[in-house]
């Protein structure tokens, strides 16, 4: 079976029949977005991969119950978002680092300040500003700015109301603007 030619919904039908090649195709199609969303939310590659893998496992386990009326990507993103929220709550409970997940946001692994160029500094500042948002604000920004969802679409796949997403976005952008304005003023 040529899985590449199948829609996501058709792949799900095949996965319900335990077709492993269909599952592999689905993973290839959506893993980049899942990992990128998780990384921007959680700030760590290992957590991002864990979330991605767990999301696909849940897709596999639920394949027999999947209804094709629901668009696969909406359903799948909701799983990823919920897993990211679970992970941020878990990190808050277990992290001994006072910076929590914030300390993980770094554009470069090189922390030697002498070797960080101005461009790298700005990149790090932006990442850290994103990390200082609360998890709901950060998810709203990631979905809207990086995944390309409208605020209505983001509301649909998070289960939050459109007005809640609107508030989260506006507040997040205000915080980001203030943080980056401070960075530019001090640099």
């Amino acid at each position: 079976m040529d899985t590449q030619a199948l829609t996501d919904e058709k792949l799900m039908e095949a996965i319900a029949g335990d077709d492993r090649s269909a599952l592999a195709e689905l993973v290839r199609r959506h893993q980049d977005k899942a990992i990128a969303l998780a990384f921007r939310t959680l700030g760590r590659w290992d957590l991002a991969e864990d979330v991605g893998q767990e999301a696909f496992l849940r897709v596999y386990r639920a394949s027999s119950r999947y209804k094709p009326e629901a668009k696969f990507s909406t359903w799948f993103y909701r799983i990823v978002v919920n897993l990211c929220l679970d992970e941020t709550r878990r990190e808050k409970r277990t992290s001994t680092d006072s910076g929590g997940i914030l300390s993980q946001f770094s554009a470069t692994s090189d922390t030697n300040p002498e070797e960080i160029h101005q461009k790298q500094e700005k990149k790090q500042a932006v990442w850290q500003a994103l990390g200082r948002l609360n998890e709901r604000e950060r998810i709203a920004v990631v979905l809207h700015r990086f995944e390309g969802f409208s605020h209505q679409q983001a509301a649909e796949l998070t289960g939050w109301s459109p007005s809640a997403v609107e508030s989260l976005l506006v507040r997040a952008y205000q915080k980001l603007r203030q943080e980056l304005a401070d960075f530019k003023e001090n640099s």
């Binding site: 335990d18 492993r20 599952l23 592999a24 993973v27 290839r28 893993q31 980049d32 990992i35 990128a36 990384f39 921007r40 590659w45 991002a48 991969e49 991605g52 893998q53 696909f56 496992l57 596999y60 554009a107 700005k122 990149k123 932006v126 990442w127 994103l130 920004v141 809207h144 700015r145 990086f146 390309g148 969802f149 409208s150 605020h151 609107e166 976005l169 506006v170 952008y173 980001l176 603007r177 980056l180």
Partner: protein
């Protein structure tokens, strides 16, 4: 025209506003200093966030995913002919034994009750007219005229 809301500006940056409405918004931004300032701030932050690009190359979940799944069900094997033959023979043997044991353990019909009537009927069946003809010497012995022991039964 009333001012453009924050979410409308963000939706316009995200490309979620129809083009006709975008033109109207841009005209207003050109005319309204307050909306222009807010628009420029949002646009700048939007561009700053472009620094948060992520390269997912090298993060491939396919192999780990497939190995994390439960083992696939083995294909159903066709039973060999010898096994089928043994099963058939076992079934036939079981049926035969069941039949034999059933006959053995089945209750036997009760013997007919012996009465004077049935005895007489029995002896009549052995009378000279019968193919057996035994009763003649027996009756002769019982009679008062004596024995006809010399008579042989033909």
């Amino acid at each position: 025209m009333e001012h453009i809301s924050d979410i409308q500006m963000l939706e316009m940056l995200g490309g979620h506003i129809p083009e006709s409405e975008q033109l109207r918004f841009r005209d207003h931004i050109g005319d309204c200093s307050e909306c222009r300032q807010r628009w420029q701030e949002y646009e700048q932050t939007w561009m700053d966030l472009a620094e948060c690009q992520v390269d997912t190359a090298g993060h491939d979940l396919v192999e780990n995913m497939i190995s994390a799944l439960p083992a696939e069900n083995p294909p159903m094997k066709l039973w060999p002919a010898t096994a089928l033959a043994r099963i058939a023979a076992s079934i036939l043997l079981a049926v035969f034994l069941g039949h034999v044991l059933g006959k053995w353990s089945a209750p036997q019909p009760a013997p007919p009750e012996e009465t004077a009537v049935t005895q007489a009927m029995f002896l009549d069946a052995l009378g000279p007219e019968s193919v057996v003809g035994w009763s003649a010497p027996v009756r002769a012995e019982d009679s008062e005229e004596g024995s006809t022991a010399d008579e042989t039964v033909s």
